[in-house]
Amino acid sequence: MTATLEERPAAEANVGGAAMIDRAEGWRRRGPLLPALIFTIIVTQIPFILTLYYSLQSWNLVRPGSQEFVWFSNYGDVFADSQFRTVALNTVIMTLGSVLIAVVLGLLLALLLNRQFVGRGVVRTLLITPFLITPVAAALLWKTVLLDPTLGLINFVLSPFGLSGTEWISQYPLASVMAALIWQWTPFMMLLLLAGLQSMPTDQLEAARVDGASAWSTFRELTLPHLRRFIELGVVLGTIYLVNIFDQVYMMTQGGPGVASANLPFYIYQRAFLGFDIGQSAAMGVVVVILTLIAANFALRLIFKSFSGEQEAA
């Protein structure tokens, strides 16, 4: 932490300089940003504007001639849909639950791997593999090889304990999907936190040890504060990806039974590609975007402050 903070003044001096430069210089500095910015606006914002437009229409793709302007009635239907609320709650549980468990497991694994032992490189290689596996393949793996009630490995392993016959995917659908997600994302968190651990200044740890500090207090007072930004980063990145997760739900449970394991992306997909109700699915999409942006605005600003270390006033 200190190492990076010490460099900050140099960067800020730069910021101060930027305030005084003239208009042309400003464009010269902004220039490199523009291609990426324009590209992102075209690719992400134009479809979204169209979504906004569709959300005000009653339009079923498979009933030609059904397209008409209905103002906000689609939004009324969305808020009246009790399943939509269930699914929104599922999304929160699935996202936050998976991210938090993956971070905790990832931290434990990172601490384990931050020690010397025989074959450490091999163990790390084994551990990162789930993150690299194609999600579609990973979901199939969980659904068939691991969780199948009669032929799955998990029930086979549990059978000596008299626990066989559990129908994981029907009885615990949300947990099953989350297990697959956690399996894939724990390695990511572990890698991130391992990098954090390895960036710790060793002299501090040495000093703490010479002072006779216990392992726990060293961990709590030095390691954890140092890891804080890495943990925050892991939570942000994990949340960004997991809130939009589709492949696992689609491949493992199709959102069922009922909507027990459906998340918002899957639910909207069903309205759009099963019901072909373009207006309603667009309205759901807009509601989700607004909700996510409110939550993200709050969370991201908070984390940006601590992560970038920049003060906006500067």
Binding site: V43, T150, S308
Partner: protein
């Protein structure tokens, strides 16, 4: 060797702590090493099993008591190749390589601009980039489909290249920005005084310093682009399908073929797994967002 934290191998042996404590610690270390191995194997086992199953006959693949000993066969792989995996691999490679290149071409200058040469509202720009990642893609798939259809680009691999570039660009800008922040300010001041054009500053001073970070960013982009399924399944048909789409095509609605499915899944996952294994050190470095020197 340091015990509580790993240090680069060339680090000096720290002052030895009192002997008994050291022994206790190393005993604990052995145990923790064993635990690490067990956990590592547990995490890897499903993948191992998938690869193993891919060498089985279908009848060996579905048994209530899992079979470890069986007569291995390449039949399933032959089946996958006979089903014409070739074009899908080519498409995946094109989508992955070109989208990653475009991300770098667009992202490096952008990350440079928002880090070393902050403009007003830098925070807002960054926030905008990252917020685009929060848009649920399902919410925009229908308009994208309609637009792509109207410009005649359905089932065209370059559509996926463009979309994957858009998908990975925000994260890449964000990641690379933190690498740029590691470049000492004086170096740049020096370059500015020389009156060097921007791209030259970038190329000759900054890029060498952050190249590990760029490599790691590229690797992340490769992983996400190779594995992407949603756009691929909805926007491609005969010409532009990628590996995940090929894999899903193997799930037949009438009759399960685990062994063949495992072979297809293994092939789909293999390139990225190997790339990740080979480059795992860079990945760690990259994920630390420049904090590791």
């Amino acid at each position: 060797m340091a015990v509580t934290t790993s240090t680069p191998p060339d680090t000096q042996e720290p002052a030895a702590p009192p002997e008994p404590r050291r022994q206790k610690r190393s005993a604990a270390n052995v145990w923790l090493g064993v635990i690490a191995w067990v956990v590592g194997i547990a995490f890897f086992f499903p993948v191992f099993w998938m690869v193993l199953t891919s060498f089985k006959q279908e009848t060996d693949a579905y048994t209530t008591t899992p079979k470890i000993i069986f007569e291995p066969t390449l039949e399933q792989y032959e089946g996958v190749f006979a089903a014409g995996v070739g074009p899908y691999v080519v498409n995946s490679v094109i989508a992955t390589v070109f989208s990653t290149l475009f991300v770098l071409v667009l992202g490096i200058p952008a990350a440079f601009a928002v880090s070393l040469r902050p403009v007003k509202k830098t925070q807002d720009v960054l926030f905008f980039f990252i917020s685009t990642k929060m848009l649920p893609v399902v919410a925009v798939i229908v308009p994208i489909y309609v637009v792509v259809n109207q410009i005649g680009m359905l089932d065209n691999i370059w559509t996926l290249v463009v979309l994957y570039t858009g998908m990975n660009l925000p994260i890449a800008v964000w990641m690379m920005r933190s690498f740029f922040l590691e470049v000492p300010g004086e170096l740049l001041e020096q370059a500015s005084i020389d009156g060097a054009p921007l791209w030259r500053t970038l190329r000759e001073i900054v890029l060498p310093i952050i190249s590990p970070g760029i490599f790691a960013t590229a690797l992340i982009c490769v992983i996400f682009a190779w594995n992407e399924f949603f756009f691929a399944v909805n926007l491609t048909a005969a010409n532009a399908g990628t590996m995940p789409v090929f894999l899903v095509g193997f799930i037949t609605s009438e009759g399960l073929y685990w062994a063949q499915l495992s072979a297809a899944a293994t092939l789909a996952a293999l390139p990225v797994v190997i790339a990740g294994w080979v480059a795992q050190n860079k990945l760690v470095q990259g994920l630390s967002f420049g904090a590791v020197k």
